[in-house]
Symmetry: C2
Subunit: 151 residues, 2 copies
């Protein structure tokens, strides 16, 4: 199994990225995981124009990466507990998570995904959403592998 | 207004605590905020015995602190979006948030609180829950003060 976490953001280094580095090491005890941050001139100029173009630029960046089971994080998605979340990890070879930039996803992209999930009713910053996602991935793998972390 | 965030944990220093230090600085632009971590021998030995005694030891530590509007974080609490969360901040002098230790709260403590909230259906680690809570406090104060952070 391989897990990919795609997000629209510039690469940077702060306390959140250090936490995610540790989380990735923990996940790698169970399976391969890769964090792919995408940002380019097209996204930058689209975001400076309007929300519709920004969303289109995210889709354009992400669609070529949709080569497995594709899960988008979006406020309108399905909320689930950590056990239901872990059900995404059964019998899947490549599991891709997509986190949009500041303007969110357009409906067309969401329709292309196998699942659209929401982490909470609350609005989270991009950085916190990613830390939550990586922790849930580790928690899910602990559940799937019967390790007591999740209790 | 004064905001207190109480939790059952040993004081420590890691990337999460550094993030919370920054979050507290941001919150202090709006109002006073204090983070109070409680841990003692009684809690330690209760946690080594059983869940009921652990929960009682948390209540015993927190009850003397209940001197304002008291909000407990608990999985059975009410989920809300960031705007609803910000409604907790209206016309309140002292706002206390309580985060339990590993065994959660007993029903008696929850009944004493003015509100019991849940951050998500997902299970979060203690550390992530605290980072989420501090971000929501800042977001709520931005909403209440009409600052664009929350958008």
């Amino acid at each position: 199994m391989k897990i990919n976490v795609y997000s629209i953001e510039k690469k940077n280094s702060d306390y959140y990225t250090k936490i995610i580095e540790n989380q990735k090491k923990m996940i790698q005890k169970y399976t391969k995981v890769e964090e792919i941050m995408i940002f380019n001139k097209k996204i930058s100029s689209a975001q400076n124009r309007d929300a519709i173009m920004a969303k289109e630029s995210y889709s354009e960046a992400f669609i070529p990466k949709m080569n497995g089971y594709n899960v988008a994080l979006h406020p309108t998605g399905k909320e689930m507990d950590s056990f239901e979340f872990s059900e995404n990890f059964a019998n899947i070879v490549t599991l891709n998570f997509f986190i949009a930039g500041a303007y969110g996803f357009d409906e067309q992209f969401l329709k292309k995904c196998d699942k659209v999930i929401s982490l909470s009713k609350l609005t989270f910053s991009h950085k916190i959403a990613k830390v939550i996602l990586f922790e849930q991935i580790f928690r899910a793998l602990s559940i799937v592998n019967n390790h007591p972390y999740h209790k």
